[in-house]
C-alpha cells in the first residue's frame, strides 16, 4: 500500500544538499571537465561551424543562439545525470540512504536535498556555458545574471523526473531508456539549435509539452539580453514537472526503501 502523503519541506534537507556539496568539492576536477567538455565542443563545433553558413537566427548571431540553447540543455543533462547515476549510487550500492533513514531524516528530506543538489549541478553547468560564451564574446555574462534563478528552476524541473527514474531503476542500465527515449529527443526537438516553429505542422504540439522547450524559451532571452515572453507559462510548466516529479519520486522511494 503506497504512502501517498504529501511530502513536507523542511530545513534538514539542507544537510543532504551540504553532504553532496562536500563530496563534489573533492571531485571538482573531473566533474568540471565532464560538465564542460561535451557542451563546449557542441558550442564550438555548431556555433562556429554551422554559424558560418547560418549567420543570424532568431534575431541574434547563431553562436549566441546555440549558446543560449545549450545553457538550457546542459543544465538538463547535468541535473538529470546527477539525479540518476549519483542518486542510484547513493540509494543502492553505497546504501547512503539506508544510513540517512535511521537519523531524523525522512525520504521527503533526502529527496528534497537531492532536488536542490540536482538544481545546483544544473545551474553550475548552465553558468559555465554562459561564462565560456562570454569569453568568446557572444554573450554578456553580467546581463545574463538573471539567468541564474531561471537555471535553478530548470534544474529542479529535470531533477524531479530523473529522480523518478532512480526510484524505479533496478540498475544503471535502466537509465539508458530515459536517456535515449526522453533526453535525446528533447535535446533535438526543443529549439536548442533551431526554432521549433520550423518543425512540420503535425508535430508542432510536441515541443509545447516538452519541458526543455520551455527551459530554452525562458533562458534564451535572458542569456542573449532580449525581451522575454510568456514567463509565467514557461515558469509554470517547469515548476509542474519539478513538483510532480518530486512527489512521484517520494512516493516511489518510500515504497522501495520503507519496507
Amino acid at each position: 500500500m503506497p504512502d501517498w502523503r504529501l511530502p513536507r519541506l523542511r530545513h534538514p534537507a539542507l544537510a543532504v544538499w551540504r553532504r553532496n556539496v562536500l563530496v563534489w568539492r573533492r571531485l571538482l576536477g573531473p566533474a568540471i571537465v565532464m560538465n564542460m567538455g561535451e557542451p563546449l565542443l557542441m558550442l564550438l563545433g555548431l556555433g562556429y561551424g554551422l554559424g558560418l553558413f547560418i549567420g543570424q537566427m532568431g534575431g541574434m548571431p547563431y553562436l549566441t543562439y546555440v549558446a543560449s540553447g545549450i545553457v538550457a540543455s546542459s543544465c538538463m543533462n547535468s541535473a538529470s545525470f546527477e539525479a540518476m547515476y549519483s542518486v542510484h549510487t547513493r540509494m543502492v550500492p553505497q546504501q547512503t540512504y539506508a544510513s540517512l533513514l535511521v537519523t531524523p531524516l525522512e525520504v521527503d528530506d533526502i529527496l528534497a536535498g537531492e532536488m536542490l543538489w540536482g538544481a545546483t549541478k544544473g545551474t553550475i553547468s548552465g553558468v559555465t556555458i554562459i561564462l565560456v560564451a562570454g569569453a568568446l564574446g557572444h554573450v554578456h555574462p553580467w546581463t545574463a545574471l538573471p539567468a541564474v534563478p531561471a537555471l535553478l528552476l530548470v534544474g529542479l524541473c529535470f531533477t524531479g523526473p530523473a529522480l523518478v527514474m532512480s526510484a524505479l531503476s533496478p540498475s544503471y542500465d535502466f537509465f539508458n531508456y530515459y536517456q535515449t527515449l526522453a533526453l535525446m529527443p528533447m535535446f533535438v526537438l526543443s529549439g536548442v539549435f533551431y526554432p521549433t516553429d520550423s518543425l512540420p505542422q503535425a508535430v508542432q504540439w510536441l515541443p509545447q509539452v516538452l519541458p526543455l522547450s520551455h527551459a530554452v524559451a525562458l533562458l534564451r532571452p535572458l542569456v542573449a539580453g532580449q525581451p522575454m515572453h510568456d514567463v509565467a507559462l514557461h515558469g509554470a510548466v517547469l515548476a509542474l514537472y519539478a513538483a510532480s516529479g518530486y512527489y512521484a519520486a517520494v512516493v516511489l522511494v518510500r515504497r522501495r526503501l520503507l519496507v
Binding site: 534538514p12 563530496v23 546504501q95 544510513s99 533513514l101 535511521v102 537519523t103 531524523p104 531524516l105 519496507v259
Partner: protein, 309 residues
C-alpha cells in the same frame, strides 16, 4: 515481565506483527526493553530480528499490533524517536567519499548538530573507537574491525539513550570482536540501553541482561542467559564423536541422559555426566568433550538443528 515499574520501558511491543504479502515475518511478538539494560534478539537467519528492529526505527510499516518507543506510538513518533537512538546496521554503510572524521561530522549534521558543536565529541568518539590516529584516513583504507568501530562511534554522535546494533560483530576476527564487546560493556556501564540482534551465543551470553529467542517470527522464550540455560537444558553436556552406533548402544545403558545427534556428533545432556564418562573412557574410536551447558544448547533445543538459509 515489567519488573521495574519505577522505570518505564524504552521499547514496548504488544502483539507486534509484520507481513510481506502472505509471508509472516514477525508474528505477534511481545517484549519490553528496560532502560540501562542490554536486551538481545537471538535467532537464526530469517527469524524476524532485523525486521523487528526496522519497525522500532520506524523505517518499516507495522502490519498489526502496538509498538511504543520512549512512550510514544510508532511509527507516528519515528522522527523524534530516531533523534534519541543510535544505529549500527548489519552491513557497514559508512560514506566512502569522506574521511573517518568527516564521516562523524557529516553524520552529526543529519541530527542538526553543526560541525563546530560536535568537535569535542568527534575527538572523544575517535578515541573511544581507537581511531584517533586514523582520523584523516579514507574509509576504504580501514580494516573490517576499524569500520565496525567507526560505525559504532557514528551511532553515538547524537549521544543516544538507546543504541540499536544489528549483528555488531558478524564477520570480524576474534580480536576485533573482543574489543567491540569491551566497548559495548563500557556503554552499558555508562547507562545506555542496548538492543542487539545476534546469532552468536557467546555474544549474547557476554552482553545481554535479558534476551528473547526468536524463530520463524515468533518469540520462543525470554529471560537472562543463565536462567534460560537453567530452564531448558541439563547442566552438563558431553559432545561425543565417532562410531555413533556404538555410542547409542552405550547410552542405552546409562540412566538420566538425554541424547541428540547432529551430523557426526552426539550431544548428551545430563545432571551428572560422570557415569557416562566412566563408561566412555578408554574406548577406542570415540572422542568426547565435557562442558557445562550454554545458551547454544538452549538455542538448538528450541529452534531445532536443521540448517537455515
Amino acid at each position: 515481565m515489567t519488573a521495574d515499574s519505577a522505570q518505564p520501558a524504552i521499547v514496548i511491543a504488544r502483539r507486534l506483527s509484520k507481513r510481506f504479502g502472505k509471508r509472516e515475518v514477525v508474528r505477534e511478538v511481545d517484549f519490553e526493553v528496560l532502560p540501562g539494560r542490554c536486551f538481545g534478539f537471538l535467532g537464526p537467519n530469517g527469524a524476524g530480528k532485523t525486521t523487528t528492529l526496522r519497525m522500532i526505527l520506524g523505517v518499516s510499516p507495522i502490519t498489526a499490533g502496538e509498538l511504543r518507543v520512549f512512550g510514544e506510538s510508532m511509527p507516528a513518533a519515528a522522527r523524534s524517536a530516531r533523534r534519541r537512538i543510535g544505529v549500527v546496521p548489519q552491513a557497514d554503510n559508512l560514506d566512502p567519499d569522506f574521511t573517518v572524521a568527516e564521516n562523524l561530522r557529516v553524520y552529526a549534521s543529519y541530527f542538526d548538530l553543526p560541525a563546530r558543536a560536535v568537535m569535542g565529541q568527534v575527538r572523544e568518539l575517535l578515541e573511544f573507537a581507537g581511531l584517533s590516529e586514523r582520523a584523516e584516513a579514507r574509509i576504504d583504507a580501514l580494516s573490517g574491525g576499524m569500520k565496525r568501530r567507526l560505525t559504532i562511534a557514528r551511532a553515538l554522535i547524537n549521544d543516544p539513550e538507546l543504541l540499536i546494533l544489528d549483528e555488531p560483530t558478524t564477520g570480524l576476527d576474534p580480536q576485533a570482536r573482543h574489543m567491540i564487546w569491551g566497548r559495548l560493556r563500557e556503554l552499558i556501564r555508562a547507562g545506555k540501553t542496548l538492543l542487539l540482534t545476534t546469532h552468536y551465543m557467546e555474544e549474547a551470553e557476554r552482553l545481554c541482561d535479558e534476551l528473547v529467542i526468536m524463530d520463524h517470527g515468533r518469540i520462543l522464550t525470554r529471560g537472562s542467559p543463565a536462567a534460560l540455560v537453567q530452564e531448558y537444558v541439563e547442566p552438563e553436556v558431553l559432545e561425543i564423536r565417532g562410531q555413533l552406533e556404538r555410542v547409542r548402544e552405550l547410552l542405552a545403558g546409562v540412566e538420566g541422559c538425554r541424547a541428540e545427534s547432529l551430523g557426526d556428533t552426539c550431544y548428551c545432556y545430563s545432571a551428572d555426566a560422570r557415569p557416562l564418562i566412566q563408561c566412555l573412557e578408554g574406548r577406542s574410536g570415540i572422542t568426547f568433550v565435557h562442558r557445562p551447558a550454554g545458551l547454544e544448547d538452549v538455542f538448538l533445543r528450541l529452534t531445532g538443528r536443521e540448517l537455515r538459509d
